[in-house]
Every structure is written in structure tokens, then in C-alpha cells.
Symmetry: C2
């Protein structure tokens, strides 16, 4: 089998892919996300996933490349990226408290022959109504750093999240079910 | 703080509880589940969670005890327990293929003073339509052994599950969000 590359530096994504029993290297892409002109969140996630796979594929020809991108849309429709600082994280939590955000995970698989397949997995995340104390506590954990929307669906962050609809792994950032579907279509041998 | 006991032998439950940063011992209960006369699946899960906490609490007085029980109800309304053998697992997969099962996770927290709080977290699990080859593959993995309903929501098993509604961790067997709510009510100090 040709080598497999995950075009991401995220340890959460790597853990989910490793959970499928696949061997791979993690090589983050060098694309500049700000250059992406697509503004619709769902389409933007897919576009960025494709661009990441494409960019890494240009440096590693003849290998399997997986690109992914995850975007969070707040209950008021605004796009939530990684918080810049604690004040920004607080703003994101207040915005989402007691409401439902949508998480769009775009996924792209590039085959060694250069065939690209992509897909989108969208899930919803419903937050409990957070008190000021609860928000303070979460900010103190520092677990919001580097997380789109300033929340975490696994570990401690789960205490803030009442329910989800969709694929849990797509909220973490690597949509496992969609990956299985794409892998089968493009001929990447995984178990199912 | 008083010691904390998880009244379960499940490594999946222990991993979720450990993910909250709590220190605890895992001590399985000795109750005989067949003796429980409650037949309604949701109420049965809560009853068994209480009985497990109660039984372990009798052997470990003055400690915090967490009891949990998870039951799967197939799309046709039948209760799915742990498969007896491969044929039984196959029957469960055929029953759930392309349909939605309900997972009821009952949780009980017993305080050192002997106060018991309980709750229920119910989630739905929607399976893809499984081909005969896919069912054969899953049975070969042996990952269905010891799993109620013969499926697994984490790892490889996720490839069969198209979407969920509710709390992912309640499907794994330890409903983290509900635990946070109960812990606060009963005065067990966790982060949120």
C-alpha cells in the first residue's frame, strides 16, 4: 500500500485516525487559510480540506493524503475561529451559552493517482446555560486555547455540552464515518 | 475529599471518568442483573445503576460511589444485551442495520452520607445500511464481544454509525454531562 499522510498537526485528528488501525504520518499543510475566498462556512470547510490535501500532495506525490478542516458557526450565525485571547474566548462562550452551534467538518482524500474526493459532515452542539462562574472556570482550565469556538467536546469540556446531533468525531475534527465512505469510494483500503 | 469509587469494571467508563481529572478506584458490583424485575429499559438502566452503587456502597461506607448501567433498545423495540456468541451478534447487527437504536444510560451517585441521586441519559444511534460483507468484517474484528447491541461507538465501530443524537459518552457507557449535573446536586466536587 502507498504511504498515508494526514495533512494536519492536530493530535485529536491523529488519535481518531490511529483508532482505525491505520499507519500514517502527520504533515501539516502550509496553506494560508486567510487566502481562501469562500465565505459560506460549509463550503469553506470543504474548500480548505481540499486545499490542504492538495498542498501536501504537491510535496508528496504518489501517496494518499487526507485533508480536513473544521469550522464552528455560533447560534447567531457568526463564524467562530480559534480565540485570540481570553476575552475573545469569553465572548464565544457567552454567545454559545444555552444555544446550539453548528460544526462543519470538511474532508478530502487525495489518491496516489491524483484523484480527489471530498465530503462534508455537519453536526450540532447544544450548550448548557453557563453561569458566570462556569465560564470563569472553563477559561481557567486553558483548554479553550487553539480550539475553534473556544470549546472542547471531549474531556472536561464535555461538562458544558448537553447534547449533540451528528457525528461526534466530526466535532472533534476528523469525521470518521465520512472518512470510511470516502475511503471506499476512492479505493483506500480500510476495514469497512 | 472522601475516596471515589466507580462501581464498574468497564475500561471505557474508567477512561471517561479519568478524562475529568478525578482520581478513583474501579470496584465492580456483585449484583445479579437478572434479579432486577424492572422491565422498562429506561427505568431498568436507572434501577441497575442505583443497585450497583448501593451494593458497592455497603462494602465501602463513607465513600463516594458511582453506579452506571447501559441498555440498548433495537429499532424493533427489543432489548439488546451483550451477544452470547457470533450468531447472536449477527442477529443484532441485522436488526439494527439502516435503523436507529436507543441507548439508555442510567447513572447513580451515592454520597458518603448515604444520599443517592440518579438520572437517565438517553441517546439515539443510527446505523448505516450494512452489507453482508460489512457485517462479516465487523464480526471478524471480535470488537462486538462484551458490547451491548454488538456495536462500538468509538474506534473502528464508528465506521458503521452514521449519526447520533444525545450525549456521545452516554453511548460509550458513562454519561459525562449527566454526571456533572448530578455531582453538583449531591455536592461531589468536580470542576464545573
Amino acid at each position: 500500500m502507498h504511504p498515508l499522510i494526514l495533512a494536519s498537526a492536530s493530535p485529536q485528528r491523529a488519535a481518531l485516525l490511529a483508532g482505525l488501525g491505520l499507519t500514517f504520518s502527520a504533515i501539516p499543510s502550509r496553506i494560508e487559510e486567510e487566502m481562501c475566498t469562500e465565505r459560506d462556512p460549509a463550503q469553506r470547510a470543504v474548500r480548505l480540506a481540499r486545499e490542504k490535501a492538495q498542498e501536501v500532495g504537491e510535496r508528496h506525490r504518489g501517496e494518499w493524503i487526507i485533508g480536513c478542516d473544521t469550522l464552528v458557526v455560533a447560534p447567531d450565525g457568526s463564524l467562530l475561529e480559534k480565540p485570540l485571547d481570553e476575552a475573545d474566548a469569553r465572548r464565544m462562550l457567552v454567545l454559545q451559552s444555552g444555544g446550539t452551534s453548528i460544526v462543519h467538518s470538511g474532508l478530502a482524500v487525495l489518491s496516489p493517482a491524483g484523484v480527489m474526493m471530498d465530503g462534508l459532515s455537519s453536526s450540532s452542539v447544544t450548550f448548557k446555560s453557563l453561569s458566570a462562574d462556569e465560564i470563569d472556570w472553563w477559561l481557567r482550565t486553558d483548554l479553550w486555547r487553539g480550539r475553534s469556538g473556544a470549546f472542547q467536546i471531549d474531556g472536561l469540556g464535555q461538562l458544558m455540552i448537553e447534547r449533540i446531533e451528528g457525528d461526534f468525531t466530526s466535532i472533534v475534527g476528523f469525521p470518521v464515518f465520512l472518512f470510511g465512505e470516502l475511503a471506499r469510494k476512492v479505493g483506500l483500503a480500510i476495514a469497512l
